[in-house]
């Protein structure tokens, strides 16, 4: 086991006005692993992700990246660390092609002119490195792609920039069975390539299929962070709904019995 997690959060809190969304949350994600982040609606998953991505700052607590405490105040600062977030709504431009989308805002140029050849090569190499075979041409418009292919492009865009930590927010929520399998395979491959992957999902089948660890949030607190092999489906459901399951979960939770 690697000693230092890529991302470690210790005791983070986050409030929006009078509403405290995150209470003393701890979270770790290691390189080469898929860490699933699960929890019911309103458990604080999205807030946690936005804080990791620099959209909101944490109110208190430690944000450690590769063991060093860091301050992340903007998406740009997160990107500079190597943190890329693939949001649920993808944010691709339908009227642009795959290469243009992958390099949007960070185009390669030679002088005034866009260096199309280099960008196309790099995009093709990144997709090939992820063993993506479903996309026939990197010059296809995104509007002509299926949901799974769009998700693939969004993920490839995130890994193009030597990112270290990739957070995927519900990547399979809108996909069919076959496309879900393809995207999950891609998620697994990212981790196998040495990246740190955080997967947010409502679908426990997906979580058990690809993750190495599962972190459960319950009402803004960390209910448990366990190895996927050590728990059953039923135990995770219980952690999500009740916040504890047998000897798993915070000891301070009162009145929870199995």
């Amino acid at each position: 086991m690697t000693a230092t997690p890529t991302l470690e959060l210790r005791g983070v809190d986050k409030s929006f006005g009078p509403v405290q969304v995150l209470h003393d949350v701890g979270f770790r994600a290691h390189a080469g692993e898929v860490t699933a982040l699960v929890g019911d609606n309103g458990a604080g998953k999205s807030t946690l992700v936005k804080c990791i991505g620099g959209i909101h700052p944490f109110d208190s607590g430690d944000y450690l990246f590769e063991g060093r405490p860091v301050q992340v105040h903007s998406p740009r600062e997160a990107a500079a660390l190597g943190v890329e977030i693939v949001y649920q709504d993808l944010a691709l431009c339908d009227n642009l092609d795959i290469v243009q989308n992958m390099f949007l805002g960070r185009e390669r140029r030679s002088g005034l002119i866009l260096d199309e050849a280099t960008m196309e090569e790099m995009a093709a190499e990144t997709l090939a490195g992820l063993s993506v075979r479903t996309v026939t041409s990197v010059r296809q418009r995104v509007s002509s792609l299926s949901g799974g292919q769009r998700q693939t492009v969004a993920i490839a865009k995130a890994v193009l920039w030597n990112s270290k930590l990739v957070v995927l927010d519900e990547p399979t929520a809108a996909l069919g069975v076959a496309q879900t399998a393809q995207v999950l395979e891609l998620v697994r491959r990212l981790a196998d390539n040495g990246l740190t992957v955080v997967l947010i999902s409502h679908n426990l089948n997906d979580v058990f299929a690809v993750s190495d660890r599962i972190a459960v949030l319950h009402l803004g607190r960390t209910a448990a962070q366990v190895r996927t092999g050590d728990v059953t489906h039923a135990q995770v459901v219980e952690l999500i709904t009740a916040g504890r399951s047998g000897d798993l979960g915070p000891a301070t939770t009162n009145g929870a019995t199995t």
Binding site: P75, C93, N95, G105, R106, E107, L112, E121, E125
Partner: protein, 419 residues
């Protein structure tokens, strides 16, 4: 410590070599895009051909040399304004004030030339700067203050009409006598220069195409097959040769009085604007960002693009090109009056951009669309005039064509969304 420069260098990965496509694949790809609702310039080109054939059959004078030259100079002003509108339409915005913005710029030009006695270059520069300032104000109101562009430019439409009246002292007509300005819409290139410019333009286009394909092939990327490049060059060279040949014929009614031959000066002027605009949209990061903002502003914002700045810049470009249109209009009319840039100028320009294939929903359009659509509009106006129809009928027909073009745009977008 990870720095930004480290992260800009992607990891080396094994390259994948795609197979080179043939002409057949290119044609298949084109058909697939058409089916997907991306009609591009096809309706405009087809419409142009059909209209020309119909008018040529009904009124043979339509094909005369004089009329052909007329057609080009008639359309030039609207085409310049339409090219600017393409930039604004790309963002899904509209500029209803472009017509009177060109009127204001023309009035500035006329006042400076005659009352103030400025040299032509100073007056033209002042007209274009006026256009830029107008665009800046409109752009800031839309992008920073957040007023819908429809309302901002509708208000400006009215206000500019008033400014033209004020500049022209309540409606006097200022005649223009400067020979250079008059030559813009009325002068012709010498026949030899017409051929030279065509040759240089075609050779330049061919060189760019061939070099680009060779560069891509050397890098192992899919490149346009040689036959396709030949077809593209032919599509420029053949109509160009025919046009220059026809325009170099004598079209004066009485050769003894006055010789009238050669390519009108506005043609190379418009061509230069098309090349410049196409370069900006297709080859620069700025152009790509315009398309991105038009396609999905949220995605553009998350990609770190300064969306308000892009919006403002599009309005600046639009009003600047409107100023060019104003100079052309002033030259063609030999004067500036309160109606310069008024009446149907704006609608013809919007029609030109949309008929050429620029989407009203943003994200799709090319500068050359404005030229193709502008020619369709000019042919309708000119041909129906020759047929003896009244202005009323011409307006009604042009309006219907605009509506049809917008309908095609909406239908193709619907089709693309549904897939």
């Amino acid at each position: 410590m990870t720095t930004a420069t480290d992260r800009d260098r992607p990891q080396p990965r094994p390259a994948r070599r795609p197979p080179a496509p043939g002409l057949r694949d290119t044609a298949h790809g084109y058909v697939r895009r058409l089916r997907g609702g991306e009609l591009g310039a096809l309706p405009a080109v087809l419409g142009l051909v059909v209209l020309c054939v119909v008018f040529a059959v009904l009124r043979p004078v339509f094909l005369s040399h004089l009329n052909f030259a007329n057609l080009l100079t008639q359309g030039a002003g609207s085409i310049a304004i339409a090219m600017g509108l393409v930039f604004v339409l790309l963002l899904g915005e509209i500029d209803l004030s472009a017509g009177f913005a060109s009127g204001v710029c023309a009035a500035v030009l006329a006042v400076l030339l005659t009352d103030q006695g400025w040299p032509w270059y100073g007056a033209v520069l002042a007209a274009v700067v006026t256009g830029m300032v107008i665009g800046l104000v409109l752009g800031v109101l839309v992008a920073r203050v957040g007023i819908p562009s429809f309302v901002v430019t509708l208000a400006a439409f009215l206000a500019f009409q008033g400014i033209v009246l004020m500049l022209l002292k309540e409606g006097t007509n200022i005649s223009i006598h400067d020979p250079v300005i008059l030559a813009v819409a009325n002068g012709n290139l010498s026949p030899a220069l017409g051929w030279v410019l065509l040759a240089v333009g075609t050779a330049g286009y061919a060189l760019v195409q061939v070099r680009q394909a060779a560069h891509r092939r050397r890098r192992g990327l899919t490149a346009a097959p040689p036959t396709l490049i030949a077809v593209r060059i032919g599509a420029l060279a053949v109509p160009g040769t025919v046009a220059v040949y026809l325009l170099n014929e004598e079209r004066s009614r009485n050769v003894l009085v006055d010789s009238l031959r050669g390519v009108p000066l506005v043609v190379p002027l418009i061509a230069a604007l098309v090349v410049l605009g196409t370069f900006v949209l297709r080859r620069t990061a700025y152009g790509l960002h315009l398309y991105a903002v038009g396609g999905n502003p949220e995605a553009a914002r998350r990609a770190g693009i300064n969306v308000p700045a892009i919006r403002i810049s599009a309005f600046v470009i639009c009003s600047s090109l409107a100023a060019v249109g104003g100079v052309i209009a002033a030259s063609r009319g030999n004067s500036v009056d309160p109606n310069t840039g008024g009446s149907n100028v704006l609608l013809l320009a919007v029609g030109a951009a949309v008929i050429g294939g620029t989407s009203l929903f943003g994200g799709r359009g090319r500068v050359v669309d404005a030229v193709l659509g502008g020619m369709v509009v000019a042919v309708i106006q000119n041909g129906m005039g020759l047929m003896g129809y009244s202005s009323g009928v011409k307006y009604a027909v042009t309006g219907s064509v605009l509506l049809i073009a917008a309908g095609v745009d909406a239908a193709s977008r619907h089709r693309a969304v549904r897939r």
